[in-house]
């Protein structure tokens, strides 16, 4: 009887400790995040100021280093003309289609490779080669074969995304501890249940890591493809800006690409936050 009372009391105590320590953690974390973004903003401002001073007193011609203000103006003009949005959407389309197809195929094949020695041995030479070949070198070939249209860009993006996602899938699936498989078997789980309730969630952190790398690579793939041969997209805009000594336009395109890559990165991070809530450690 008295044991139960002690037990209840301990639990209440525990609960209150957990709750209050969580509260303290939360405010601390919030403050740290606020401080971080404040510092981040400060360093961007410093960067812009240095840039401005360099163009003002550095004596560099505008076609080598345009001032931040000139780039800003060029940005507004490009937006007004509809130029920027059109080309951004094209690049975004290439990046997304490439990323989604490349990552899906890589996940499927990666799962097969992780599960079957036969498939692994069959595919190993290609997998190693595909890692060794620099995409920049293959891009011209793909454009010769598939033309300067969107399709060749989809292909380049998908190929560049493929390998890191595949490797991460293999590693992720292989890293599932054996004892979980034993648990599933002792409960007579079906193949499908083991896939959905064990392998997918267990491999998810590493899988998303692959996707994060893939997202950034896909942007690179699209630009490389467009620079090599295309009449659309941000890579094309860079090409045009360069050939017309419109360096401000090159800057505009580069910054848009950075924003796009960061946006995708953020999207994957968001996905990680929601899917991997179980993993989140209280950060200081």
């Amino acid at each position: 009887m008295s044991l139960m009372v002690v037990h209840k009391l301990t639990q209440q105590f525990r609960r209150s400790v957990v709750l209050s320590s969580r509260g303290i953690m939360a405010t601390l974390t919030q403050r740290v995040i606020a401080l971080r973004s404040w510092l981040g903003g400060l360093s961007v401002l410093l960067f812009l100021a240095t840039w401005h001073l360099a163009t003002r007193y550095g004596g560099l011609p505008a076609f080598i280093l345009p001032s931040p203000a000139a780039v800003g103006q060029r940005f507004l003009r490009a937006v007004m003309e509809g130029l920027l949005i059109e080309h951004t959407l094209i690049t975004l389309l290439e990046v997304m289609v490439g990323l989604v197809t490349g990552a899906s195929l890589a996940t499927l094949i990666g799962y097969g490779v992780a599960k079957s020695r036969l498939l692994e041995n069959l595919l190993a030479p290609y997998l190693v080669a595909s890692q060794a070949i620099p995409m920049v070198a293959v891009a011209p070939l793909l454009i010769i074969w598939f033309g300067p249209g969107l399709f060749s860009k989809f292909l380049i993006c998908a190929l560049i995304v493929f390998f890191p996602v595949l490797i991460n899938t293999v590693v992720g699936v292989r890293a599932v501890p054996k004892v979980y498989y034993e648990l599933m078997r002792s409960l007579r789980a079906t193949r499908r249940q083991t896939l959905l309730k064990l392998e997918v969630p267990a491999a998810m952190p590493i899988l998303l890591g692959g996707l994060r790398i893939g997202a950034t690579l896909s942007v690179i793939g699209a630009v490389v493809g467009e620079l090599v041969g295309s009449d659309r997209g941000l890579g094309y805009l860079i090409y045009v800006g360069r050939s017309q000594y419109d360096t401000a336009l090159v800057f505009v395109a580069v910054f848009t690409l950075i924003a796009m890559a960061l946006g995708l990165y953020g999207l994957v991070t968001l996905l990680e936050k929601t899917l991997l809530a179980w993993q989140e450690q209280p950060r200081l």
Binding site: R185, S186, R188, A189, K197, W278
Partner: protein, 250 residues
């Protein structure tokens, strides 16, 4: 139908050899015993004597090198297993972990949740049902694993040192609960333990393994009356049984 005198489980001449670089590592050597319905069997033995291997073979997770395991009604019973290592899925909350066996069974989620709540009460984790495993202590995680092993009402419970990381108070509370469940639900239990007093307090029979390769060194009937009480642990007879087990192990 099986009459109470036919064994629910027969382990016959079981040997297990793990391949290694010099001729294989023998974990079990011709182990034979029988388990009867509703029996509570404890397995004692030194570290490395093949106790976990035995449970894994009985659960069908591992093929024996020789010998066989057969069940009374010739089909694998429903098994609830508590593994020696923590096997909570870190991406599931406490209650989701406990519900896993019912989820795999296709039980209605509402019903599964209600049943899981009962078990959470049983193992004393009321305020932790929505916590992640990483937020639990070792003993709490083990209690979750015990709840998970019980939720689908298995016929055969295979417990691999289930109470090893519990404090003495919780452990004794869990003993009482395990005995209550075992008696109320008419389960058969095979429990590996390192604790002589735990084996004697809970089991009908204790099997003692020799050092590797594991052989049955002693098959001891625990003729203490039920229900078992705390006082029994201080009787001369309990002491004599404990002495016997201790002498056999050493």
């Amino acid at each position: 139908m099986t009459s109470p005198t036919t064994p629910i489980l027969t382990v016959h001449n079981l040997s297990a050899v793990f391949p290694d670089n010099n001729g294989g590592l023998q974990a079990l050597d011709r182990v034979s015993f029988q388990v009867y319905p509703r029996e509570f069997l404890a397995v004692l033995g030194p570290s490395g004597s093949g106790k976990s291997t035995l449970l894994r073979i009985i659960a069908g997770l591992l093929q024996p090198t020789e010998g066989k395991v057969s069940f009374g009604d010739h089909r694998q019973p429903r098994i609830g297993m508590v593994f020696q290592q923590a096997t909570l899925m870190p991406w599931r909350t406490v209650i989701q972990n406990i519900m896993l066996p019912l989820e795999l069974d296709g039980t209605d989620p509402q019903q599964a949740r209600a049943r899981a709540r009962e078990l959470i009460d049983l193992v004393g984790l009321q305020s932790f049902e929505n916590h992640w495993p990483r937020e639990l202590s070792g003993g709490m995680a083990q209690r979750v694993a015990i709840a998970r092993a019980l939720i689908h009402d298995p016929d055969l419970l295979l417990l691999d040192e289930p109470f090893a990381s519990l404090d003495a108070l919780t452990r004794e509370r869990m003993w009482a609960e395990l005995l209550r469940i075992w008696q109320a639900r008419q389960k058969t239990v095979i429990m590996v333990t390192h604790s002589i007093s735990e084996a004697l307090f809970l089991a009908d029979r204790v099997i003692v393994f020799s050092a590797r390769p594991g052989r049955v060194k002693l098959d001891l009937n625990v003729d203490l009356p039920r229900p078992r009480t705390d006082e029994m642990r201080y009787t001369a007879h309990f002491g004599r049984l404990a002495r016997r087990l201790k002498d056999t192990i050493e």
